[in-house]
Symmetry: C2
Subunit: 452 residues, 2 copies
Amino acid sequence: MTTPTLALARFALDCRYEQLPAKTLAEAHRTFLNWMGCAIGASQHPTVERALAAVRRIAGPAQASLIGRTERLDMLHAALLNGIASHTYDFDDTHLKTIIHPAGPVAAAILAFAEAQAGGGVVSGRDFINALVIGVDVECRIGNAVYPQHYDVGWHITGTTGVFGAAAACGRLLGLTEQQMVWALGIAATQASGLREMFGSMSKPFHPGNAAKNGLFAALLAKENFTSSEQGIEAKRGFAHVLSTKFDENEITQDLGKRFEIDLNTYKPYACGIVIHPSIDGCVQLARKHALKAEQVERIELGIHPLVLELTGKRTPRTGLEGKFSVYHSCACAVMFGRAGEEEYSDETVSSAAVIALRDRVQAAVKPGVAEHQADVRVILKNGEVLHLFVEHALGSLERPMSDADVDAKFRGLAQAVFPEERIAKLIAACRDLSAMSDVRQLVPLMTAVHA
Amino acid sequence: MTTPTLALARFALDCRYEQLPAKTLAEAHRTFLNWMGCAIGASQHPTVERALAAVRRIAGPAQASLIGRTERLDMLHAALLNGIASHTYDFDDTHLKTIIHPAGPVAAAILAFAEAQAGGGVVSGRDFINALVIGVDVECRIGNAVYPQHYDVGWHITGTTGVFGAAAACGRLLGLTEQQMVWALGIAATQASGLREMFGSMSKPFHPGNAAKNGLFAALLAKENFTSSEQGIEAKRGFAHVLSTKFDENEITQDLGKRFEIDLNTYKPYACGIVIHPSIDGCVQLARKHALKAEQVERIELGIHPLVLELTGKRTPRTGLEGKFSVYHSCACAVMFGRAGEEEYSDETVSSAAVIALRDRVQAAVKPGVAEHQADVRVILKNGEVLHLFVEHALGSLERPMSDADVDAKFRGLAQAVFPEERIAKLIAACRDLSAMSDVRQLVPLMTAVHA
């Protein structure tokens, strides 16, 4: 009988780049580019600095680089730090079916692995993209099998399933045997961790970093024939039954190797919770179309779903982080700047007098019939004109995916505080054409800072 | 309000060696000695060798030693490897209320910490023993609060609670502030992991090692002000509610700092599951009292609780590991050798013709009225004499604790394959008098192998 664990192990070993559909390849490249931008953006954040201060005391040989920085660490800790950085702004990708942020655990692990040449040689762009697709598929399929009960009880699903994705992707690059891959998934299962209680603290972005590190370590252990259960996922006392009350095996095995969960990945255009995105999106569209200036605007009227006010009804945010929980601040920025990136959620922007003045003219009210993915947006100008837009789906949803240009623009917004424009253009081009790269280590000089 | 997390943090910071009762101090020294013996005994086992092969690729500076070996690793990985070694034979200590093996996660972490001087200076024997008491109390109290539901659902409680014990003990030695200690416990909570499904594989002893490593890392992160939830243990989406359906706060707070869970620690005299211990114990007592030789024995008759046959009814074991699941093999050894240590469960002993000949003369039958902790043992001699003993409680139980001499003898049995007798005597003496040691690093030359 083929168990889910064995099926995933075989898939991780058998899946070939040449068989991946064009849509899957395109989404894999977008996934990686978007992830890299998030990691660069937060690379100097205190969350990263503090983790690095702890890691410095015990890190091993300089095998792999920290994105956006000068330091090099052993591959496990490089994976940890890059995984932390990429989720620090909570601006990375989302597999909407499970709310998994798929790239972090997998990309952080295989990037460190590739630079360290942990498999004994060069990792090509094709092998890297293939491993990314495999890792994301493994973590999201396991997520599908246990969601939503697993998430509802309190597990941060990005951490708990991410460790499997990292193990599978690294195991593939490491050339594990089938027996070893089964063990790697078991060693991943027995390290699955991460609580939702940590949301709002530095321990939230710790989860994808930790999943990357532990998944990579699981593969390294399995390579040395360190044994585990062979039914780590599905056994009575295995991952699924211990960490969830739901386990649907079909979610793991159905069309495995034929359709790929990475096809369903999405990228946030706005640096805040997804519930405000329809409102922001309406404001951005109107602002851009009419080249709005704040001084023209009398007020902004939002007709919204009740969840928007419940989750993001903060009237007078005082910090950047609080701004993310304010539909008022978010929509004021969307009209003033035509965007709502990480910069719009800085402490400075939130306390800017001009932003506050417009924020105080944003009115938000529940409008019956408006769904969670919709928003009814009106901008009333001082000259009496009323600009109206009903947003059916926000940019960044599966129904209205971000274009490649949108993803590039987001990347630029994140990277510009760290890298000059010329470097950013080169890095975007390199990530977009990653499959053509003969050795993924060619990314390293593009993604790291120069020693002072 | 003092939450359980805060209460444990304060206890971990406030508990002083000078206030510990004599019984607690004595048990702490026994706990450490017993743990050290188990780690020495398995120090050359393939489980350790394979983990070490993986770790070599990424280990950091040589900060801390591997027990019974020549290698030195960064303190996190030394904690991992020593924690793995100490649980490899499943012969370490047991907190019977929760089936936690308390020493592994805590002792492995603080020993590596002390050798690395991670707190910036010398760790005295007194501070070390105090930290051990603290760590064991924290892990066992958390265990009491969630047991048995937490264990029943499938968590390996030594791994899941051990990470808290290691974090608290290391956090104390590291001089964390109260806020940092609360964060350390939160970072521990979000790493809690380890599935019972791994029993029977190398991933079982991985759990205490991993808990030691991750708990130590939690303390190092907290020291750098890496934040977490402040209610990591008791919050709705915190450790207790996500990983158990039971949470009794009183188990954490009641008499905290007044009575100590380490007082309840026990040490296995026999290297197998506790269910056979009464039978073995009866055989050992009779063999010693009458200086029995195998050739005198006609047959051995055991009257036992049904669980003994259910769990350990293997009639013809073929490997050492299978021998641990055979009451027949175990009692044959107990009569022949007057002991049932790790040596009696080697592949060689299990396939020895003399042992098999006596094993085939062991009869085991359920006897109504015999409780799980009892055994009715009869040895019928060829001269017709019948030796009889009813065992009320086996050696190693709380009711009949091992004497210091028993613990020493167990240590010798474990260490003799690795160290000469003279060294063993010195190491026992050093562990017995650990509180008098000015610098715990004085243990290092006694517990490590000499470079060839």
